[in-house]
Amino acid sequence: MADHEALRSILATDCGSTTTKAILIELVDGEYRLMVRGEAPTTVEAPYEDVTRGVLNAVREVEELSGRTLIRDGSIIRPQDDGRGVDAYVSTSSAGGGLQVMVVGLVRSMTAESAQRAALGAGAIVMDVIALDDGRRDYERIERMRELRPDMILVSGGVDGGEVRKVVEMAELVAAANPQARLGAEYELPVIFAGNEDAREPVREALERVTQLTVVENLRPTMERERLGPARGEIQELFLQHVMAQAPGYPALMGWTDADIMPTPAAVGTLIEAVAAREGINVVGVDIGGATTDVFSVFEGTFNRTVSANLGMSYSISNVLAEAGLDNILRWVAAHPDPRRLGNEIRNKMIRPTTIPQTLLDLTIEQATAREALRLAFDQHKMLATELKGVQRQRDIADAFGAAGAETLVDMMALDLIIGSGGVLSHAPRRSQAALMMIDGFEPEGITRLAVDSIFMMPQLGVLSTINEQAATEVFYRDCLIPLGTCICPAGRGRDGSPCCRVTMRTDSGRRELEAAVGEMHLLPLGEDETAQLTVDPVGAFDVGAGRGRAVSGEVQGGVVGLVLDCRGRPLELPEDDTERTEAIARWQDALDVYPRLPEREEAAS
């Protein structure tokens, strides 16, 4: 690779479970810009079983679109020479189901939960959490470990100087299960021990016979402190050394890249952490995919990630239906589709996942389903992104079995920015649809910016940031992030039609005042490169960040949608009466110009 500081061109790929996406970035007039994007089916599975074929196919599309030669002799040309090739190549991967980790700890809400956070932060899917208080018997735990075949197991347990015997018991359970690795029958399963330092030797004795054991620093050295870095780092290291090295074609791909291949979610997390740190803000990011929904958050500098493994918009859409219930999906639709037909249509999307909505009603139903997937995934995120449990008082393991829940770190009033990505958000025909889906799914409070990832290149930019932060940052702000605008959502409840707040907006073009009532939504035009001085003065029952009834003033940014004033109250409750509900949904959609015409009108017309 050429000197990082002097990179003239960068190729980055993301090998997803279905599609491999390639982007070409070039230095143009001193700025890094996205030039073109190509994609091709991922080729990890049979009949190809070689990830590099999909990578080369995607890069070939980039070649065709850019007119630049990038491949020679079945490999990527580096460094750039006479307009051919690139100076650097980086990649992320979630192909073949991503990085699948099983977590073992002592108490579910304490060391096991810390271990879960470490695994998720490293970009893993946590297949199961085995803990003393998981309600299972030993033989059930052993059976579970045997049937799951994870890529690796993370064993935690005990603060330093604390419980040893129970930790060793759990290690013995792992040894008894003798779990086999998912990929490659010949090698021993990697196991990381990140628990009580006093238990290291007996854990070694129990596990070294049957697994590839690595010992790292305790991820919960005291009740009051989590130290996830060493375990996260080791998970990613083992991901490269063992999992990737066993996956078809990856050894060759690893030889091509100028930085370690990162698990896709870890790369997205890296980028979101960097954005939060650079701007000094609290950020929530969501990637709603076909099979899973990832949620990332940074609040007051603390990063958290969760993955809802069975909430998605195609492969897992039926699970959204099962978890949310049909009524919860239908409540977002300003029409009355036949429930039987709707259930069948959602299932047909699951079995033919690449199809797209063709009618307006179909689109509204898909977007209604997305709202529920976002809501459920965010609920799961809030439950895991918490303060450390077990900190407030001295206690032992027995106390923790009845432990009360800890406060979530997710503070919607303190949230500054929501970034959405994934097909249903990034490819919504109107950007206002993406904005309303995120507002309905997440229910932001106070004043919050909204943005979407234009073509889902956050993974590639995340791994790029590890070798050239400038390039990643410039492309992120100029070509990746599409600002939708800012939403103003007073928190509180009131009677529909009663006063909610007064908004005063000053821009270069003038001053505008608006008195908004409870139950209303308004869209105030404010373009992508525009800002406004805004004062929001809520009535007594409502809060926009300074306390009930207290006004807030400041500068807000516009976007392709504008300023959204959401006076529906928080928590958001839809009218119970069916007619009132459909009328309200239609009114809100009209206020934000969300659909070309109401689905019920379309249905009536047909």
């Binding site: 189901g97 033989y139 004795e205 039926s318 099962a322 069948n344 079995i351 025909p429």
Partner: protein
Amino acid sequence: MSAAETHGYTPGLRVTERAVIRRLRRLPLPGEVHVKAGDEVRAEQLVARTELPGNAVTVNVAHELSMTPQDAIDFIIVEEGEEVQPRQIIAESRSFWGLFHSIARAPIPGTIETISDITGQLLIRGEPIRVEIDAYIDGTVVQVQGDEAVVVETRGALAQGILGVGGEAHGQLRILCEAPDQVCHQGLVGEDCADCILVGSGRVTLDALQAAREVGAAGVVSGAIDDVELDEFLGEPLGVAITGQESLGLSLVLTEGFGDTPMRRRTFELLAEREGERASINGATQIRAGVIRPEVIVPEPQATWEAEGEQASVGLSVGSQVRLIRQPYFGMLAEVIELPEELEEIPTEARVRVARVRLQDPGEVTWEHVAEPREVITVPRANLEIIEG
């Protein structure tokens, strides 16, 4: 690639009269293979067998004897590697001249695998679990892969489905319906359906599935089902389309999906022509990466004909026969007459690649969203699948 040809389409399901079909029969762990290359096999014939390590059960001896792990170790009276019977005493302590007597017993038959002096735990490995693999299809063993797997090959008809549940099954094909769009209901299932693979056509009802299970049918193949009825048949909502492990007492293969969709005429006729012949079905489905589709195989092990070529590699082009796979035209068949190169706006306002297709049978349009059935319609290319040979 020419403007009139593209690979941006959904590969269709394979339905063919003449295919050479090979199926890998693999053990989860190495074991014994009971056949050799060249052997003719029947679907139900055992081809390989192995034993998986038995389930492990832990006994906390220290807890049972109410003492520390370090003390408990001295009272364990069995050794690692020793076989034990259920209820056999494995640790025993006496104190105060035998006044207090504590014992720990083996909860299951098995072998003592480990004894830990740190935790006072003892691990008993249960009896090995036997796993047997049958041939699945009538055919010939063409390859033996060490002591782990064999490949069975046959010639015959193959129809892939879109979704199935339940595992592998085999039996005689029995056709229940007279036309591809007939609802397959309980009244069509009689006592003589026992051990058969039953072929419906349109939507299969829950009561038909329950009746088939009651009479001991091996499996059901039909066009579609209502989603709530499938959930009821499964006993839980189907969340993710990864299936095949369900124990339902009956395997089900759906060729089209959910709702009132008729079975594709070609599939129906192909199966109807083979009524009375032996067939194998597999309900296993995995829609995500490494797509696995359920299938119906009607072997002709003695046949020598040339197989019909797979057409999956042929791209979508003008003249391609396609099926529309999204509302409002779901299930209809059409012929591609134009593949515009430029993106076009569809009623959702999305700008996508489209195809103009001529509906083959517009008279059958019954879907309520189709305002004006027209002979030529524009659809997103993502919403059609090519009909494979």
